[in-house]
Symmetry: C2
Subunit: 404 residues, 2 copies
Amino acid sequence: MEMVPSEKGARMRVLILGGDGYLGWPTSMNLSSLGYEVYAVDNYFRRGACHQLDVEPLLKTPNLHKRSQRWKEKTGRNIHVAIGDITDYAFLSGCFTGKVFGDDDDGHWSPPDAVIHYAEQPSAPYSMMGRKQAVLTLQNNLIGTCNLVHAVKEYKPSCHIVKLGTMGVYGTPNIDIEEGYLEVNHKGRKHTFLYPKTPGSLYHLTKAQDGDMLYFYCRMWGIRVTDLNQGPVYGIFSKESKNSEDLATIFNYDDIFGTVLNRFIAQAACGHPLTVYGKGGQTRGYLNINDTLQCVELCVRKPAALGQYRVFNQFVETFSVNELAERVRKAGKIAGLTVEIKTIENPRQEAEDHYYNPVHTGLTDLGLKPHYLTDDGLGQILDVILKYKADINRDYFMPRVKWE
Amino acid sequence: MEMVPSEKGARMRVLILGGDGYLGWPTSMNLSSLGYEVYAVDNYFRRGACHQLDVEPLLKTPNLHKRSQRWKEKTGRNIHVAIGDITDYAFLSGCFTGKVFGDDDDGHWSPPDAVIHYAEQPSAPYSMMGRKQAVLTLQNNLIGTCNLVHAVKEYKPSCHIVKLGTMGVYGTPNIDIEEGYLEVNHKGRKHTFLYPKTPGSLYHLTKAQDGDMLYFYCRMWGIRVTDLNQGPVYGIFSKESKNSEDLATIFNYDDIFGTVLNRFIAQAACGHPLTVYGKGGQTRGYLNINDTLQCVELCVRKPAALGQYRVFNQFVETFSVNELAERVRKAGKIAGLTVEIKTIENPRQEAEDHYYNPVHTGLTDLGLKPHYLTDDGLGQILDVILKYKADINRDYFMPRVKWE
């Protein structure tokens, strides 16, 4: 077992907010397997919303307590879990005092060395459904983050916050997207700003807003934060779950919680045309779920300095939606499937043909070894999804939420 | 009576959110006297917080219903009032359907043509007191604004939102502060961004965040918004209240809700040293309360276009804190007072010596006739405050909230 040193020389403690989610659960297992002491909490927002909106994930997944039990049975390792909402400060405080987890392993509790903050309402279409969903998104994402900052200040000011952001905060400006900051030359003078954001949904807006909040408190209180502006993630099994279906992540392929490449793969698997929104020239940076795990672990292991608001653009390569569709068609062909591509009306308000050149060197400099999207790799994901072909619900694909 | 035409040829209807406040009540009277049909609502946050924190305003002011009755007695005009919270969508809806105001004057209700949005928690020190106050500020300012946008979309998409912002959203960048937008030249390409913000308190952050939200919904839904990034306002009586003490505004001179120049005048009046925070080089743009009224009325009369997020920097001249202190000392001397200036430790985290050159031509182009700060004008305000000298509480001056 690789031991990861903390300030105290004991195993590093990591609190994972949103530890039941698409990335939260794989991260919990990954850090646990690497020797971190992992504390995972979740409010089950995703599970509840999937029931309410009738967009069930592809695989049935046990609840977080059961997941943790199975993990323990398979690996002998503990993932400590608690269910609650970080907008409830009493609950969040309990994550820092240990109260919500009961007694710690060795009876000597100390607050986490790092917090990975996945606990945000993560869907752009959800945030655009109506007023209640917009308010829930603001409430959850901003009050949750504000509580987190105050808990860190109260219980452990040196605790490193690793927040999952999104590349979507930048929008599609006509200049290069730098990594976090932008030096502006204006009328003969210079100033470095946090890179200006032009988000394209209320959800993306809240991620810009909470980034601004974290940057603010770094400047005021000297706390330390890494903000990971992540592109859309694809993939289903990670290293820790690939031979254990009962450790699988929550995999959505629907119009609300599914990301585009996962949806395309599900569509290809069940013989549904790939649904390209509008012209399909929308270009974004993508990454494999295993690269998310690498990036997050690297950031925890190599934290931001005190007072630093460190920003990375977290993706490994860019594709237009049309390019992704072609890649999936090709992988399908290799697997013996006929994959049709269909253009449908774009439910979003976004540029469908635009300049896109984001810098993304920070994480590679930190040590990231990227997995690029190959025909082979895509074929492997498709093979896995094909096993669950009968469970794919073809009613989940068409977008129901319009931006206007 | 000057009649202001609306789309329907009837009198223009203006809903004022925060209509009981330092600027909200004077705006209500000003627009009413100009012939607008005024609907003023408030949740009494300020009154409640002043009691809780024991920072009572200089003058006792009747509640909003009584203020409206007195206004009617003096002028024969109606200011329709209702008490409630715009974070409660049922209440806010009632402001658009008329339900909260009872029957309309003429029995033919239609939703407001413009909304003036003052209903935000307005104090930087309040927002830095602790977690609860930070959460209240986020909650009030962001959920309130989100509700407002949705109410406009639901009841009257052409309704013009005039939101009071603050120059404090910009911070003190080392380049000129443009009016709302910044064209950036970067690596041979150009893009125009919303001007990047670097706010210096959680309160100021929320004003940047709600500006970003309004800009987003202008782009998505084609609503129209004017955001007035206002500097600190000074003055006590406006045209409509100057001969009627019972129509006076809520005037705070304390460390939480008082703005710097009003606090200095109160200090000079009661023989307390003017308290300069730190080096006193902090430079901001200031304006007289009567100029706020002018600016707001101009914006209502000449609205933003549909889909436009129009931004003005609302102030008429800049001063450093040291310059303001000297101006007050001089005005005091003319009035026969000895005014001492005292430097105290700065409770805030802010640059005390910095470049500051904000553009502010938009409102002048729209028709603003500025009132500059003259010795005479300052002397008149001082004379008024001197009448209430015995009521000034000297315990209110020293800052109790530290940023760190």
